[in-house]
């Protein structure tokens, strides 16, 4: 199961979510194991059926004003009953001031208590998005990822087939490199995204040359940090026995992290300009998205033509008899 410690969450996101820590820093050792959030209003009111205590608890104005409406003793009991649960983290929004016993009890129970200056709504949505990314299924694969006319092309194939050279060719033609060699892929709501695992920048190895810095060499317009993956292109050595797609009527699909995307098996041979073909794949993908499928259009025209000619032939034979 994936998890992230509250300490890491706080360290990486304190700016984005304008967070500050209320309890003592030792409480931050707890782990967040769920990507979902919970508003514990009903729990404070004493209803603990289905209390999702394993989630981060968000306290907004509603919860705080409810607690403050209680008599001191009731307030203490109400908070204590909630905090005996093994809650990973509590965040109070809008920088609201908390009932005094809350901080004391959270420290007692070693539950991290954070304060955010964002509104409940804003924090809720940004935090869900962030946790969605943290907890989304992911894997790394060997390949390159490029943005070709806005289409995310995942380039795969055996080592030495020429992925990097092909990526370089595309960059030289004005397309964008996301990452070369290792692509980190994660799935979010049936969409695949790819990014680099390397934090040093857009470096790539060119056989016989060594390492190059693509951003330095081609400029900032030649690189991207992240891209939705639309099509996979598998480069493979030309084999006479392999059935390559000739018309393009039946799309092949590949399953990555439970998401299906079209895959194209592209034979490469010396002297063949693969970059141009990849641009064509990208443009054809866009045309298909816009509802124009060249293979379908052509074959339908042909079919119509064949039917018309067959009818004419039939008529002329009958007429001749």
């Amino acid at each position: 199961m994936k998890k992230i410690s509250v300490e890491e969450f706080y360290r990486t996101k304190k700016k984005d979510f304008s967070l500050s820590v209320i309890t003592n820093p030792k409480t931050l050792e707890k782990d967040i194991t769920s990507q979902y959030l919970n508003r514990p209003g009903l729990a404070f009111a004493g209803y603990f059926e289905r209390f999702a205590y394993k989630r981060i608890q968000i306290l907004g104005e509603t919860e705080i004003s409810y607690l403050q409406s209680l008599k001191e003793e009731d307030q203490y009991n109400s908070i204590k009953e909630v905090l005996v649960y093994d809650i990973p983290c509590i965040i109070v929004t809008k920088g609201l001031s908390l009932p005094q016993q809350m901080e004391f009890l959270a420290n007692e129970m070693t539950i991290p208590l954070l304060s955010s200056r964002l509104t409940t709504d804003k924090l809720y949505h940004s935090l869900r998005k962030y946790l969605g990314e943290v907890f989304s299924p992911s894997k790394t694969i060997h390949g390159s990822l490029l943005d070709v006319f806005g289409v995310g092309i995942l380039l795969t194939g055996k080592s030495g087939i020429g992925k990097s050279e092909c990526a370089l060719d595309l960059v030289e033609r004005g397309r964008c490199l996301v990452t070369d060699d290792v692509v980190k892929i994660f799935a979010q709501e049936d969409v695949l995204f790819g990014t680099s695992t390397n934090e040093y920048g857009h470096f790539m190895e060119v056989r016989g040359v060594g390492l190059i810095d693509v951003e330095k060499m081609f400029g900032i317009q030649a690189v991207r940090k992240q891209k939705r993956i639309d099509v996979q292109i598998e480069l493979m050595p030309w084999k006479d026995t392999m059935d390559y797609e000739r018309i393009g009527l039946g799309d092949n699909f590949v399953d990555i992290l439970g998401v299906k995307i079209p895959i194209i098996y592209l034979p490469v041979s010396p002297g063949k300009n693969v970059a141009v073909v990849i641009e064509v794949v990208a443009m054809n993908h866009i045309l298909k998205l816009y509802g124009y499928d060249a293979a379908k259009v052509y074959t339908q025209k042909l079919q119509k033509d064949l039917q018309k000619k067959a009818k004419l032939r039939h008529a002329s034979i009958e007429g001749g008899e």
Binding site: I247, Y298, T299, L306, Q307, I317
Partner: protein, 88 residues
């Protein structure tokens, strides 16, 4: 060089699917392969070429193979036509 005349016997004529079958079958052989229809002559290993013929039901084609394995090529292609490409 071998020549063989065949007639298209499947109702739909030589549309995309049969054309693909022909091209894929022919591409396995080393011999050159041409198809002639009336005054049109095309390379039988080219999908666009074969579809350009627009050979309808009942039309007549001449298959021409030239090379070391020409007999086998013609035999397999002719069988495809006879089997109506698995259609009606």
């Amino acid at each position: 060089m071998i020549r063989k005349t065949i007639v298209i016997v499947n109702k739909l004529g030589m549309h995309a699917r049969p054309a693909t079958l022909i091209v894929k079958a022919a591409s396995k052989y080393r011999s050159d392969f041409r198809i002639i229809k009336e005054d049109m002559e095309i390379n039988g290993k080219s999908i666009m070429g074969v579809m350009t013929l627009a050979a309808e039901y009942g039309s007549e084609l001449e298959l021409v193979a030239d090379g070391v394995d020409e007999e086998f090529l013609i035999k397999e292609i002719a069988e495809l036509f006879v089997s109506k490409f698995g259609e009606e």
